[in-house]
Subunit: 245 residues, 6 copies
Amino acid sequence: MKPTAKSSFESAPLLAFGAHPDDIEFGCGGIIARETLAGRLAHFVVCSRGESATHGTPAERTAEARESAALLGATVEFVELDGDAHLEVRAAHSLKLAAVIRRLRPGVVLAPSLVENQHPDHPRLGQLVRDAARLARYGGVAKLRAKPAHAIGPLFFYAVTPEAEPAGVLPVLIDISAPGVVAVWTAAMEAHVSQMRTRNYVELQLTRARAQGLRAGVEHAQPLYPHDPLIFDSLAPLTRAARRF
Amino acid sequence: MKPTAKSSFESAPLLAFGAHPDDIEFGCGGIIARETLAGRLAHFVVCSRGESATHGTPAERTAEARESAALLGATVEFVELDGDAHLEVRAAHSLKLAAVIRRLRPGVVLAPSLVENQHPDHPRLGQLVRDAARLARYGGVAKLRAKPAHAIGPLFFYAVTPEAEPAGVLPVLIDISAPGVVAVWTAAMEAHVSQMRTRNYVELQLTRARAQGLRAGVEHAQPLYPHDPLIFDSLAPLTRAARRF
Amino acid sequence: MKPTAKSSFESAPLLAFGAHPDDIEFGCGGIIARETLAGRLAHFVVCSRGESATHGTPAERTAEARESAALLGATVEFVELDGDAHLEVRAAHSLKLAAVIRRLRPGVVLAPSLVENQHPDHPRLGQLVRDAARLARYGGVAKLRAKPAHAIGPLFFYAVTPEAEPAGVLPVLIDISAPGVVAVWTAAMEAHVSQMRTRNYVELQLTRARAQGLRAGVEHAQPLYPHDPLIFDSLAPLTRAARRF
Amino acid sequence: MKPTAKSSFESAPLLAFGAHPDDIEFGCGGIIARETLAGRLAHFVVCSRGESATHGTPAERTAEARESAALLGATVEFVELDGDAHLEVRAAHSLKLAAVIRRLRPGVVLAPSLVENQHPDHPRLGQLVRDAARLARYGGVAKLRAKPAHAIGPLFFYAVTPEAEPAGVLPVLIDISAPGVVAVWTAAMEAHVSQMRTRNYVELQLTRARAQGLRAGVEHAQPLYPHDPLIFDSLAPLTRAARRF
Amino acid sequence: MKPTAKSSFESAPLLAFGAHPDDIEFGCGGIIARETLAGRLAHFVVCSRGESATHGTPAERTAEARESAALLGATVEFVELDGDAHLEVRAAHSLKLAAVIRRLRPGVVLAPSLVENQHPDHPRLGQLVRDAARLARYGGVAKLRAKPAHAIGPLFFYAVTPEAEPAGVLPVLIDISAPGVVAVWTAAMEAHVSQMRTRNYVELQLTRARAQGLRAGVEHAQPLYPHDPLIFDSLAPLTRAARRF
Amino acid sequence: MKPTAKSSFESAPLLAFGAHPDDIEFGCGGIIARETLAGRLAHFVVCSRGESATHGTPAERTAEARESAALLGATVEFVELDGDAHLEVRAAHSLKLAAVIRRLRPGVVLAPSLVENQHPDHPRLGQLVRDAARLARYGGVAKLRAKPAHAIGPLFFYAVTPEAEPAGVLPVLIDISAPGVVAVWTAAMEAHVSQMRTRNYVELQLTRARAQGLRAGVEHAQPLYPHDPLIFDSLAPLTRAARRF
């Protein structure tokens, strides 16, 4: 199986997975906005309705996720696994997500990081997506035969909160300072109205993005943690590094 | 101080530092060949004449380094520090290398990794270059006033042998499979005739590059270890990752 | 429970676990060949028929595994867990493998490393074997009462691909340069005919073993990663270390 | 340069370096006793007279070191570097120690670990010995030409206190439970009379060795931390691992 | 949800979880004794009857656990999960333990460390407790609605054996040298009569506590590994650190 | 030597070391303000005049440091080592700083972290202070005999920028939300007028402290990284942990 050719990759959608209706927005929403504003397709797979959270009914959370995705220019679907706060690492779940990958044939895939943090579902979904991206490539998996095998492009992890940032792992920083990006992202976070009874989540994310921006010498930036070594044809795309301070 | 603009960066030379006359070639020569074959300027700074090695006189080693650099399409200069096998981490050395950086105003800088390996000079030069890249930016350093301050582009480490690869650090892999690249690189390594009494060094490097290539799904690849998070304007350049096996 | 006495250990078989029919051969086949050529008993436990792979039917894979084990001078059995690409970390599996350990009473045990790599089954089997080796020692486990408790000798992990090598963990290197060892190993890998449509796997493993050999100053070597500190009666057996470069 | 042949290695002395007159005894004295009681030659190189310590004059410390080495069946010499509590990492020191290595032509070399601990001299001497072992191999070092190049056997680090144990590095454990070993070791530690005003050092070391022994299922054991992967001809010497609890 | 106020915290019980009837005593019993002798409430949750161990019937183990807890001044309850040596990481278990947390409303929570060690149940219970402490806070979890949400104070891990100590993680050391503490702790360990056929467990724990005490400059100390950064109002409580050697 | 008694510790000054005139303020100024507002003595030792920076003369920098320290309620002195951007790790420097420690007899000591970051002087000063705190304890150091030996209380590292935060090391968080603390700290940072041509430094630090505060559930917090395990008499002071998200 050859790596996906660049041309087909560029038309391939960006696929982001989230354990709860707001995880993608809080963890990497600025990057999503950056990409869709540049004309790229993005699709969200949300794996619960947030039904165990302190605030918001499943119906409200679902509506908020749809509204937020629309603001970000992304499509969204819900894939039920074990339910909010009940997620387990099971082969059946990886296969279910692998079937999604085969159906959508993404280039870049985004998933929550594997580092334990404020919600047990986050790293478990990270593991499931990592495994799903493997399984989607194997030609002989009986349960996946409805669709042809697919090798994704790079898999990146995002960190919903600072605790989820992998210690000692160098991220790539995506500059999200282009006009309009942070505004769209902020609106998308605030679309999760039920979670806004405390504004802290939005402030936390903007504070984090500003701190990364200060490192990078730009207004705002968000980190992604590559799962595998990135491959480049030459040094030409590698022109900037965070050496501001 | 703003990050170097992309246009000026692209015309800025690639600057590689080596502790001994053959370190750059053995550690990242394939990448150098890839870049110069694509038309980029490359310059080598070699910090000893290899005078403590088992084979080769300083004059032979110097001539070999010049021949090898020429084969790679690079220019080369020698900067004396403490001498082969005598290198220490001293501020005076960092300042000397910072003056070189100010004179050459490079984009990407390559240096030996900080990981202890078969020669004590390697990680020490890595430290000196890392510090020099800092010092070159500071406006008030008295000894550097002859030239204006300069902020380099990304600093990458290369690993002369596997022991020097930083454990647990994800490299970027540079695909060096383009026609002619490995042939030029091999010739450049073999130009170090005095070190060829054992062919193992060349075989080691080609074996390593092939193993990385197998991971990446290409013929040959060489790893570089970024010192700082890399910054990208979008996900567009991030289309390939080593997920072959 | 006393550590197994040296005399009984030496007659105890070497026991290797693999998640798929070719994992043992690709990950540590050179070491197996080294041991069996020296007269040691070796037994393989293979935990799927490779039925999810792109190439090869379960019947073909089973036949290839038998052929390959025979070439290596090892016996082989199949223990069904959840099936290829469906493996989960379950207590029932650990107990099943612990029963195998009690039946065979091995000295050294080899298992795939715990590091995530190209197949989710690999690290999971590593965890199951690690746990099974614990459970086999506990006197009161109801499901294991059919056989007396057994304390294994050292547990080592092998890495099917470079990604599975534990970062920052010092391996022991087993010199497999003795005459005939690599030839037997290569034949055993090639016996997995269905996986040979790409020769890359065999090349990858020989390339890795050569790179380790170059570090060690021998023709070929393979690494094993000890799970626990190794104990020696004196420094006498510790005469060689990889300091070639 | 071929690795030292096994036969010559076995007659090669064990060489241990210490920063202060009692470091070797406190850090790995049980292992020394184990080896000399088995007939192996051992030599100590002590790099200060302990003149900055709270207790003991240089003359007393020197006499104690001689007495202690004699009890352990080892010879001892003093090599002055910068003096107690003044040690720096300098190339001149590494060259001085490399000359010692060329003169003595040891197999196994023991040095204090590189991990910062209760005395800044400890990890610095570890670095100097590590570098000296490299330099002793290089054929062209002008200052070392009086003696032929020498490649040591394995380099191991010892930890004078628990803080100096490298985190996350698997040691090898040397069983020092053979009759008389701990008694000889204890006597050697107690020969440092000036340091006995508090008995805590001796108790600390015996407590540590007992804790390692309990892990290993023997009376007492001491850990060593290999600098490089150890190489074995087969699995035969690898029969025991610390899996007691 | 505000952090628990200091006054209410001080009256909140200390809650310790153990996988087997003696884990809490062996892993952190000295700390328990220290706290209860100072008048604090402590409660143990034991998650099996030790029915897979080599020695002791479930009835004996239960009686020993009750006797031991009484000696330590703690109350104890048994919560059945999968049974000794059968523990799995399941959402249902985390929810069961979260219900316990909501019922008891503890301040400090103690759990076995996440590091693999001599029993697979230990790190798994650590994961379950970590997750349970999260789930107890989420307002919408249907299965937990019988009791109001509760945010615990700090979560600390204890290490039943040295293997379970997280490498490279700085513990806090609790000084257990106050009169009577070690005596009570020793009696509590010895109350596990069925496990005393070998005295090694008790000796191992006292040896470990003495080694930590020697580091800390006190008679005995036990380490705890914080799960999250500890927060202090000022530097006033931070007056002592282990810098003895 | 007994650990400093609590009563004497509380009257002992807080001693902070900085490589440049503004490092202490930017790295841990909020904590200083918190302590001095509570009545504790604080003293700064600044080891250069910032003469290599892009902005500000040595005289300006010195005046700014005095003004800033006064705002923080701290005293300040300058100790010349090698000069700004020229710092080396030398025994003579450690001895000089050890003499300062003996003169001031501090409890808590604060130093820049050992992690390489935007200025090579920062981690080097961290090493020198760490060593100085050792040397200050040794009774026999000839150059220190003018003052009696002194054992400091805990040594903590601060991080001037995010790059200097030790990866994977759990900090303690000091809550600096008490009224007036952040205002005083901000004024102290702004007193470094020559460095204010870009406001980014102040914004970076406030952004960092807000992000830590969000983790901790308070307005602002600053992290410190303990060099050694902290010792507590009981669990009583350990009532809060950062578990907000």
